[in-house]
Amino acid sequence: MELKSNIPEGDIATKWENYRGKMELVAPNNKRRLEIIVVGTGLAGASAAATFGELGYKVKCFTFHDSPRRAHSIAAQGGINAAKNYQNDGDSVYRLFYDTVKGGDYRSREANVHRLAEVSRNIIDQCVAQGVPFAREYGGLLANRSFGGVQVSRTFYARGQTGQQLLLGAYQALSRQISLGNVEMYNRHEMLDLVKVDGKARGIIARNMLTGKSERFAAHCVVLATGGYGNVFYLSTNAMGSNVTAAWRAVKKGALMANPCYTQIHPTCIPVSGEYQSKLTLMSESLRNDGRVWVPNKVEDAKAIQAGTKTALDIPEADRDYYLERRYPAFGNLVPRDVASRAAKVACDEGKGVSKTGLAVYLDFAAAIQRYGKSSAISKGINNPNADKIIELGEAVVKEKYGNLFQMYEKITAENPYKTPMKIFPAVHYTMGGVWVDYHLETNVPGLFCLGEANFSDHGANRLGASALMQGLADGYFVIPYTVGPFLSKEIRTPQISADSPEFLAAEKETNEKLERLIKIQGNQSVESFHRRLGKIMWDYCGMARNAEGLKKGRQMIRDLRAEFYNDVFVPGEVNEFNPELEKASRVADFLELGEVMMLDALDRNESCGGHFREEYASEGGEAKRNDEDYAYVAAWEWDEIEPKVHKEHLEFKDIELKTRSYK
């Protein structure tokens, strides 16, 4: 299969503008007749559904949550990037484009990333107009902060709840379209299959989670915005309900899963505390603006801390290793996530970890509290403040910046991060891989589009902080409303699609049979126990560091686990009722297939890049060693129970020179 990226001709800086000027449009009278299904109501889904509604299309929108406002975008903390250059610090569209391609370790598609950087500016304007309460300076203008992997301040934020505020903005825009009758909203409906008619995506089968019944929905095209698959690892910063099912079912109907092995392990999460743990909590990357990462220089100090006989405060300054500042002086604590995570792993592997388990490093705010305390004293006109006063003033500044994060940390760990450094450790956070799409965000199945974290297109092998929110809203507000045009403009003569055709009935029947099968196994092990075991395999063999031997072993273990699952899982209750255990079982079944493809993809990619770190391919300094000659491509996988097959899209770098990524 040839993968056509459909990138428009011309100069990178004017491609998108030219495309918009020449693309096929759908006239308003035809928009009224054309139906679009949007699955998912996170930033990408809600913004797309709202915008389609505003444009006059007939929209049906689906979420498995009880309300569109609960999508997991709500949990994003730190911020959203935009090339506004409000800080006059040298930012530009090109620089955001460059930073993103470099941050992604040269494994993303240039044209898509440039478009993302261009529309980033419109997103901020749009969100401000919706009433999103972004942080502001005293003069009333928008405030910015820095995130990893860049040397400018281009991140806009709303305290530590940027995702929440942006999602509520999109949710409110969506609510307005619902109230105007332009969008029909289906809450508590989970997409379980994609329906194709004559090769085109024409609808979905969704299970009404209240009644348990499968229902058929038809439209002229289908847009997936169903998020990432980080929960394949069981423990991640994703919400409990986040899953790959909608995307995976589309893959089983012919879409391709691109670069599934690119997973982002976020460096600053609260470490695992026990076997019972159900999820991990992120501490925003924004904390690295002011927090300094360190471990003890001496292994014996680390041992004492692990044993509980010493604390961070007992380690004198000279015996601390601020390893990010030491190894990467140009970017310091603000190196990209993949680099920071690997460095933490190296420190812990050397025995310098600082929790009971030895799997944690410090994130220390003492220096920031001192710095802010002194400047605050000056601005308040306090001469010669004593040490306590400086700390008091400094803590107040830190509280204003990160108060909710510090409070969240304290609630979970029962430790006060103002007084002792936070303990953090990397955890699965985001998946750069996803459904393969072309420049139009259209998959290889005509009429099936994919947005946001669910697609693969913009972040390459590593995503920079505050770029997920940017991509979600770019795709939903400013890309898909245009790029759906070329497909739909050819559908203006297509009458309303019937949901009673044989294709729909067959898909509905198949869906019901799958659910029945899960209930009928009546084995002895819980769904949860299988999910935990899968997560352990993924983390051990396809986590922060991978090697060929482990990946082969991991793949076989997953295949065995999958066989065991279909023999021995126990799902209580019935199909046709409200049944959360059945929902979980159906999602874990899909993770058990996806996991295998992730292992295969990681095995196939004989290089290290971004979040994909193969131990066999490292430079002497322990950095990722790419192989551009053989692996500058997108690996798009076609599912097959026996042997999944890979298709390749070669990546061309015309505007950015391919070189070794350095943050030193």
């Binding site: 406002r69 997991h72 609510s175 019972y276 159900s278 209750g573």
Partner: protein, 250 residues
């Protein structure tokens, strides 16, 4: 630690509910929901039906979790959602009663799961700024006082969990509605429509069957995001101004 649980079980909206007794072996570092996970794993291992409860992000922001714990929405700790509550807030041997939100406008679906779609309909009635994608001017074109943006943000932090309703003796949704009215009305972008917004949202709130506000202040006390009842005062003022002072009525 050993916990004695009394959990609300109810097969569906039509059937009668009851409190069911369970023993759970918990760890003090567990979150409350992880303790509930242990209970459910026990039930599944005995091939019984697990307790249905809503949860998703487990970090206090999605607003899904909703348990009345020993009579208090989201349990004993202030400024905390159920998922952020940890077992260290309880003692070994404690008996804990777990119930769903109780309000006419939040009918029970199963066990601890209730239907909160009434909140969505209140937002649909006017909890937005009428601006289409692409119509916006530059983000810095309208300066907003830092204090004002901060006041709006305080109100905008509402997670839509419904604890305010569950805490209120009248099951009133005033705090939820007022938080949105205050957030949008405080920002210049939202001011334009404020007069109709406040009327439409209050009207929808009444239609959904939420009760009246009698200023008990329980909503503010139980709100996991500590949203202030000042917002209710602001909404009342604007509502009166809008109904009496403007010619437009909704």
């Amino acid at each position: 630690m050993k916990i004695h649980l009394k959990v609300w079980r109810q097969r569906n909206g039509e059937s009668k509910g009851y409190l069911e007794d369970h023993q759970v072996q918990a760890d003090e570092h567990m979150s409350f929901l992880e303790m509930m996970d242990v209970l459910n794993e026990n039930l599944v291992s005995k091939k019984e039906t697990p307790v249905a409860f809503e949860h998703d992000c487990r970090e206090g922001i999605c607003g899904s979790c909703n348990m009345v714990i020993n009579g208090q929405p989201h349990g004993p700790d202030s400024g905390t959602t159920t998922c952020q509550l940890h077992m260290r807030s309880f003692k070994d041997g404690d008996t804990i009663v777990v119930e769903p939100w109780r309000a006419v406008a939040f009918p029970v679906i199963k066990d601890l799961v209730v239907d909160r779609s009434s909140f969505d309909r209140i937002i649909q009635a006017g909890g937005y700024v009428s601006v289409n994608t692409g119509q916006a001017q530059d983000g810095n074109a309208i300066p907003i006082e830092k204090e004002r943006a901060s006041f709006a943000m305080n109100a905008a932090e509402c997670i839509g969990c419904g604890a305010c309703v569950a805490a209120c003796p009248n099951a009133s949704a005033m705090l939820f509605t007022a938080a949105k009215v205050a957030h949008l009305g405080t920002m210049p972008q939202g001011e334009v429509e404020q007069s109709t917004r406040v009327q439409s949202m209050v009207k929808q709130m009444d239609l959904e069957g939420f009760g009246m506000c009698s200023n008990t202040g329980a909503c503010e006390a139980e709100c996991p995001k500590e949203i202030s009842i000042t917002n209710i005062a602001l909404m009342n003022r604007q509502y009166a101004g809008s109904v009496l002072g403007s010619e437009k009525s909704v």
